[in-house]
């Protein structure tokens, strides 16, 4: 049978753990890297930025530049991307009542991949600058096509997911076709596909911030609705909810979140599926908790993954998508096994 009591963390403690994880990940990332910054001076330089706190720091002008213009924007961007992907994954999982759904589903990743490929292949030197916009637009277009193809009449969530798979395969086929006709762009496209935060700037973070705030806010505000949806469409309707409308709103917000992340980072898999699961294991299935905790934990997880990506084979970098999968999968399996509900 099944264990009778979930060993859940109380909500307040779960928030504490997730927030501490995020802060620890950010600090660790700020202190580690190719340039050897003095840890104490780095900390005082960071604390000095807090309003009304004035601390002398021994960091040189160059070290300050490394910290504030290279590491910090990368940490902030990583946190944004990780949080966005995790919230989008959790939101999709709630909407589709399916724990295997990821932020790249519904044609989102395939659309972004096609958009980026088209920009790199056909826009020449202007292409690199256009990749974020093209990926963003492609991701949203992929979801829109999948949604319009799948949401016919009163059809259920399975139809929508299957339409997403079909649209994804179609877009990937187009991308492959475009790519095999211009193999000289292969490496550039491929390195984009594997995801990276190298070259992160404050400007990138500022560009996706408005989309991030809006999309995350909308998804978080629908946590309770996703809990109601978990009892099925018919019972949700008998409780006064409009399942179709809720699904449309949450899917649109999740698509915007995932597209914002993809635009600045390329395709980073695994985060959107692993993080919400870890959170569920610790805090239970209610989306009113799972969504905000996924935001914090996903941000911390991606900062850590990116820190590994830029340090393990330093001065070269690993694609962050490779790190999230290489590190994430064993951790995920370990968590699954160590907290598994013992079912027969």
């Amino acid at each position: 049978m099944i264990r009778t009591r979930g060993r859940r963390l109380p909500a307040a403690r779960a928030y504490g753990v997730a927030a501490a994880f995020l802060v620890a990940a950010a600090l660790a990332s700020a202190l580690v890297g190719a340039a050897d910054l003095n840890p104490l001076d780095t900390l005082t330089a960071l604390l000095d930025k807090i309003p009304f706190v004035h601390l002398p720091s021994g960091l040189s002008q160059l070290d300050r530049a490394v910290l504030f213009q290279i590491r910090l924007p990368r940490i902030v961007l990583g946190a944004l991307v990780g949080g966005l992907l995790s919230v989008a994954g959790a939101g999709y999982q709630g909407v589709f009542r399916n724990p295997l759904v990821d932020s790249g589903m519904l044609g989102a990743s395939a659309g972004a991949g096609l958009g980026a490929t088209l920009a790199i292949v056909y826009l020449g030197s202007a292409g690199t600058a256009a990749v974020p916009v093209a990926a963003f637009a492609g991701s949203l277009a992929g979801v829109a096509i999948a949604y319009l193809s799948g949401a016919v009449g009163g059809s259920g969530t399975a139809t929508l997911l299957l339409a997403g798979v079909a649209v994804g395969l179609f877009l990937t086929a187009v991308q492959t076709y475009v790519l095999q006709r211009s193999t000289q762009d292969l490496q550039q496209v491929y390195s984009w596909l594997l995801g990276s935060l190298s070259g992160a700037t404050w400007q990138q973070a500022a560009e996706i911030l408005p989309y991030s705030v809006v999309s995350v806010a909308v998804v978080l505000l629908h946590g309770r609705h996703l809990d109601v949806l978990s009892v099925g469409d018919e019972e949700a309707r008998s409780l006064g909810l409009h399942p179709g409308r809720t699904r449309l709103i949450v899917v649109a917000a999740c698509a915007l979140a995932a597209a914002s992340a993809v635009a600045v980072s390329g395709l980073i898999g695994f985060v959107g599926i692993v993080v919400p699961h870890v959170v569920r294991r610790l805090a239970g299935p209610s989306y009113r908790l799972v969504l905000p905790l996924s935001l914090l934990t996903g941000a911390g997880f991606l900062i850590l993954a990116d820190t590994l990506a830029r340090t393990v084979v330093s001065p070269a970098e690993l694609p962050i998508g490779v790190v999230t999968a290489l590190v994430g999968s064993p951790v995920f399996v370990w968590i699954l096994r160590s907290t598994a509900a013992v079912r027969t």
């Binding site: 049978m1 309770r224 309707r237 008998s238 006064g240 909810l241 239970g284």
Partner: protein
């Protein structure tokens, strides 16, 4: 005053007409049991009253046409417990019962202290407080049914719709659940409409029966008027006798005309011989 008045109701599912010109009513605080063979349209009628199916004709709840009620407004009047409700296995009983407060919350609202108090009160009435923190996946059949009723009660409805509330329960738990529903009806003035397969239970608990057959009302009224041997034989193609229990409710007993085969196999087989008449 009738809480529910159904007039000339017709429902199509997948272009097949399931209900034809169904009319019936229940007084406020009454208990109506929908009976009839499999496929007669009982669940369809219940779902139509729950506002989950498009229909022709009229369904009025407390003099308001169902078609004029939307979403939360309807859900504040009517609670619906399907035959096989979805119970997310990792949700706790407490969280699940609290979902019953959904129709009373604003779009972006979240359950407050009074909502929690009402959910706790519903849990107390159905005696599920003891296992409030257990996961739904760990409950027994009887516990699950009580938890479903607690969620419906937390909704504070005027009308409670129950689809086969006693299916997959043993006899004792069946009676326990029906008594609980009757208590709720008496103490809260809730009007109950349910589908039931057990005709004797229908006669013992519901004051009004509607016998559906092939999507039409075959008979309606007090149990004694509906549960007749002839009618049951015709509609169910079943052989029964109808007697009365101590309080005068019809008791429907299945009858087997031929002697059952089991009694023959119980006769010791003669050594080396054939069974007589075998």
């Amino acid at each position: 005053m009738s809480a529910i008045a159904i007039d000339d109701l017709a429902v199509d599912l997948d272009r097949v007409q399931i209900l034809h010109a169904v009319s019936c009513s229940v007084p406020s605080g009454g208990w109506l049991a929908l009976i009839g063979p499999n496929g007669a349209g009982k669940t369809t009628l219940l779902r139509a009253v729950a506002g989950l199916l498009p229909h022709r004709g009229s369904i009025r709840i407390d003099h308001t046409d169902l078609g004029q009620l939307r979403g939360r407004g309807r859900a504040r009047l009517i609670a619906y417990v399907p035959q096989i409700p979805v119970l997310p296995p990792d949700l706790t009983v407490e969280e699940y019962v609290l979902l019953g407060r959904t129709p009373h919350l604003g779009y972006l609202g979240s359950p407050g202290r009074s909502d929690r108090a009402k959910a706790a009160d519903a849990s107390r009435r159905l005696d599920v407080t003891r296992f409030a923190r257990r996961r739904l996946g760990s409950l027994s059949g009887g516990e699950r049914q009580r938890v479903r009723l607690a969620r419906a009660l937390a909704q504070e409805p005027r009308v409670l719709l129950l689809d086969e509330p006693t299916s997959d329960l043993d006899l004792g738990h069946q009676q326990q659940v029906l008594e609980l529903v009757d208590d709720l009806r008496r103490s809260q003035g809730v009007t109950v409409v349910c589908t039931l397969h057990d005709l004797t239970q229908a006669s013992q608990y519901a004051g009004h029966l509607v016998l559906l057959h092939e999507g039409k009302v075959e008979a309606a009224g007090a149990p004694a008027a509906v549960l007749t041997e002839d009618l049951i034989a015709r509609v169910y193609a079943a052989r029964v006798t109808v007697s009365a229990d101590a309080s005068g409710h019809p008791v429907v007993t299945p009858v087997r005309e031929r002697p059952p085969a089991a009694t023959r196999s119980a006769v010791p087989r003669p050594p080396g011989g054939r069974l007589p008449g075998g």
